[in-house]
Symmetry: C2
Subunit: 478 residues, 2 copies
Amino acid sequence: MSTSRLLTDDPVVVASGARLLSEALAAQAVPVADTGFRPPMAGAEGDTAADLARVMADPRRAAANAEAVRRLLAVRPRLVDVRPAGEALGLRRGSFLHAGPPVGWERASGPLRGALMGAAVFEGLAESPEQAEAELRRGGADLEPCHHRGAVGPMAGVVSPSMWVFEVADAETGRRSWCSLNEGLGAVLRYGAYGPEVVERLRWMSEVLGPLLRDAVRAHGPLDLGAVLAQMLQMGDEGHNRNRSGTLMLLRALLPDLLTVGAPASDVAAAADFIGGNDHFFLNLAMPAAKLMADAARGVPGSTAVVAMARNGTDFGIQVSGCGDRWFTAPALTPEGLFLGSYGPEDANPDIGDSTITETCGLGGFAMAAAPAIVRFVGGDAGFALRTTRSMYEITLEENPAFQLPILDFRGAPTGIDVTRVVRSGILPQINTGMAGRVPGTGQVGAGLVTPPAECFTAAVAALALQAPEPSGAPAAG
Amino acid sequence: MSTSRLLTDDPVVVASGARLLSEALAAQAVPVADTGFRPPMAGAEGDTAADLARVMADPRRAAANAEAVRRLLAVRPRLVDVRPAGEALGLRRGSFLHAGPPVGWERASGPLRGALMGAAVFEGLAESPEQAEAELRRGGADLEPCHHRGAVGPMAGVVSPSMWVFEVADAETGRRSWCSLNEGLGAVLRYGAYGPEVVERLRWMSEVLGPLLRDAVRAHGPLDLGAVLAQMLQMGDEGHNRNRSGTLMLLRALLPDLLTVGAPASDVAAAADFIGGNDHFFLNLAMPAAKLMADAARGVPGSTAVVAMARNGTDFGIQVSGCGDRWFTAPALTPEGLFLGSYGPEDANPDIGDSTITETCGLGGFAMAAAPAIVRFVGGDAGFALRTTRSMYEITLEENPAFQLPILDFRGAPTGIDVTRVVRSGILPQINTGMAGRVPGTGQVGAGLVTPPAECFTAAVAALALQAPEPSGAPAAG
């Protein structure tokens, strides 16, 4: 405000912190603009305010975050191949990848256990889910997070050697990421179902769908996933729980090659039916595209940018650019939302899956303003979708110019979660997600909204504080 | 406001009409809610205010409009066939349909002349566009509006016997409507281009695309266009200048049948390429679906609902339910918007095409809130898209529960334009549209925003006033 306006305009009070002051002023008819300040989050242990001050004072922080986000935004993800997971990820018989941070059988959630049992039967390691369960309980399998192999998996995220995976590569650097093929909704492995129809579908996907997609993708050449994602945001998708237009654009792009690779017409028709009948098929391409973007931001010393958010159904974990491959975990919360059929809140497992890699890159819950129709799937209303995206700008470092949100006049999606902004503002990343049944074998029970537990972020800030250089003038510790 | 609130709350002045009062109050810091009232439109002839009062007093009006809209909303449009226009519409050699109200060669606009010249060459009636022009100038062809045969055509809307048309039927009543197949953008017949590549494309569409689509549609069985339109509004399309998701959903729906009707794989691949490469392909299905809906509302005595809005590039015409097949016309306005390449406003022809049948049914400009990305094609910003849809509720009779707009919390699209509301409010229907080059042969020059001329609506009100029963107590005229 210029001096002249200060003299001529009515004064307005800007209030921050406790509401007592602004309420007293408002009661006296004094205009008050409340900034909505909240004190920083209280950490589960240690002195979060001091940690935060230490990290905020780290002279490397601004440049490190700019570099992390620059790398993330420079990624050009392209679908380049479809391959068996064993070959693509170096997975051996008896090894299984899973979603989220590391977890063993003892602490594994119901849907993760169910998916492992189904995968063991699919791999021929057991003749029945019961036999598989006994085998898994006595430790007869190697479990490892997808993220540790450059991969991501939705919900339980179980990947076994005979499953096929999409291979996505960065056109700039050649780096790669992988994700399984989407099975559809309902009673499917990733939601913890393991019945005969689940295993049968996985067999068809490995024997027919995977090889056919491989031939079509190789004939097509690299398929620009960034361009598809950009279009999706203009077509009511947010890339996590709405992938309708993305799936249709994938089908359109691969169609000429599917028609001409010489596969039996019945296989092509079955594949087109399967893909066209599953509005979530593109999720498993949005995820490895986001994984490739997020991975580019890893390992920048001093950066407070989140490079992974993932859940195994028991724990929620995040990884931060300046903290290497360390996971900051806390018990996963349970989503609230809309339920299928007669299922209710008591049937829902806590939050599960690597699909939060989409939110890590400005998609999913962060881009809900572009996909207001999603509220019929996850709950809320159109205003909630708009408010959610707007509030995510408060905790992110950049607006992605490639992911434009038309309803916000083509503002770029809020991208690059900053743990210091989360802890300072108390605003947690908004995730929209499917909900798996708590009991192994159930499948999907609904979809809803959830956030990470705050402790992941305060723990990350504490770790960053330990690495931050001593503030100048203060004596060095130890 | 209850009596108690009247005593305790601060008074607020509601002002209507001339701004003088509200401005004076505002200058004295008195809160004023301005209702935005404007006096009714001045008619080109006659006493519009008296006509309006007479029509508003027509005791049949409310029930007649309810019936007209009830019929419109009850239509279930389904694609049932693809046929040659000659056969489907009873068109003979030397006959041409065109968009908009009736017009002869002398008053025909450049793009309509260009399209007629191209169609004459395509039909083998002339060997060159120049020869065709001479033939048409001397009256050697029958011209008739598409609307007079239950059909609609985008832009110039020229249909000749050898072109193929979509046939759409109402599942409730069996009534039918027709529309040509979409040629794509740029130098195409409907934008007035007539070069060899235009005629060549029309030949391929009649020899390959039409028969292939016929076979696929017949194998598929009736395809529910209402369901596709409902989905489109959740996927960033408004059904007039954005039909991206609609086109993809059509392709997905017909794909299994395209693959299995026994056509050569190269034809199927070419058709899939042509449809998949033209984001406007579904427009030519949105239009006959809307035509079928609007036609259902025709002929209700006393109804003030608009049942057609159409332009031939010279005149804009509307038809009203209570006025039979009479056209109310006035000179078409020229759209303002965004231009392709080096084209500018001086290259644009006045408003042209039957595609305003979409706005007549709550789609297009009326549903722009569902398609904010369209502003990059026609101009404006996201706020304009939202305001446009909101203001269209002011001039419509109903909200279509089948066409839900997610960003407005699934409010039904504003449907059933009421000429009395248009004249009372001074709010004209908002149309978004492609722009054809003024000079025959040019093709598309841009896309933009336009309204009908106000005179169409005042003339309709005058005609309705003549038909309205004498107000009780007044002496009968004549």
